[in-house]
């Protein structure tokens, strides 16, 4: 085999593998950025008075660490499941009358989800106007602090809960 052919073969192999990798990555990125993803909102009432910790929360070890460790009881009030579609708002009602608005903004190149959240009363926008987070599949983010029935609401949002690893 001549040197020219030898080098051409190496170049082709490198070019083809690179093009293949870029192609598949591009296809995956395009598909991910336009597809819907399931999500789950965990609405928990936490109190400092001693009481029961809902067994379903025991695997969420983050809720046993500061700033949550002052709570001695935690009760799941609701656990709605929803689907986040890029650019479309999804609403979840909270027991205090406010609503959580979630919007999937995009899927990041590393696979994480960029999500916009807001918590307000209907037709209001003064409570938590804007929150933008990036979260890995199955890893929650929390919004806490709303007082309710002598306790505090802890709202956890998990995007792609099928991939929960905790």
């Amino acid at each position: 085999m001549s040197l020219i052919r030898y080098l051409a073969m190496i170049a082709v192999l490198l070019g083809a593998s690179n093009a293949s990798a870029q192609g598949s990555s591009s296809v995956r990125s395009d598909r991910d950025s336009t597809s819907s993803v399931p999500a789950e909102v965990l609405v928990v009432l936490a109190k400092e008075e001693p009481g029961e910790i809902d067994p379903e929360l025991k695997k969420l070890t983050a809720l046993r660490r500061p700033p949550f460790n002052s709570f001695r009881s935690m009760q799941i009030l609701s656990r709605p499941k929803l689907t986040l579609t890029p650019g479309k708002d999804a609403l979840v009602s909270l027991p205090n009358g406010r609503r959580v608005k979630l919007t999937l903004l995009r899927v990041m190149p590393d696979g994480r989800y960029k999500v916009k959240a807001a918590i307000n009363r209907p037709d209001k926008s003064d409570y938590l106007p804007l929150l933008q987070v990036v979260a890995s599949a199955g890893d929650p983010f929390f919004v806490a602090g709303q007082t309710y029935q002598g306790g505090t609401l802890v709202v956890g949002v998990i995007v792609d809960p099928k991939k929960t690893s905790q």
Partner: protein, 181 residues
């Protein structure tokens, strides 16, 4: 060319991710314990990044489709025998065939080595630890706040460690509406 010292070979294998985990951890600790070692880690990381950038640029310029088509055309083309020149070889300009092959072989081996380095860099495992000891997998796990507007309230952003060591974002609103139902 001098052959690399055993220590250099070990360092090479370390940066190529070829050392067994125990040896890799021991060498990493050893390197991180001295300023020279830390500097060497940074230097290799910079070289690796530069090679990745250069190889990405290079491979991006290759039109693999047309190259494939050209090679296929060459391979399928009929072989035309070439009559050897009947002239007498000029004694002062003849190059022995064996030596020519050795020269071609050396060049080809060089390109093969470059290709091997390219593939090694491209296939560098993402789960390798950075100098701070954090794996790439943990870095991309968890959640983090990019932007928050507390409106008329005040609030605090916390980072809480999750079950797998990942950092989870907590936004805590200082709710002034006590007793709101």
């Amino acid at each position: 060319m001098e052959s690399p010292k055993p220590e250099d070979q070990k360092l090479q294998m370390f940066f190529d991710g070829e050392l067994p985990p125990e040896e890799e951890a021991a060498l990493r600790r050893s390197l991180e314990s001295t300023p020279e070692g830390m500097a060497q880690i940074r230097e290799w990381a910079q070289i690796r990044e530069a090679m990745q950038t250069a190889s990405a640029d290079w491979s991006g310029q290759i039109d693999s489709d047309s190259l494939f088509a050209r090679i296929e055309a060459e391979v399928s083309a009929p072989v035309i025998p070439i009559e050897p020149a009947r002239q007498a070889k000029p004694p002062l300009h003849s190059v022995p065939g064996g030596r020519e092959r050795r020269v071609w072989g050396a060049v080809a081996t060089g390109f093969a080595a470059a290709a091997a380095i390219f593939l090694t860099v491209m296939a560098w495992p993402e789960t390798h630890q950075d100098p701070s000891g954090v794996t790439a997998e943990v870095r991309t796990r968890g959640s983090e706040v990019l932007e928050v507007d507390f409106g008329t309230n005040t609030g605090t952003i916390f980072e809480v460690e999750g079950g797998a060591g990942e950092s989870l974002a907590v936004v805590w609103i200082d709710d002034g509406e006590v007793g709101l139902q």
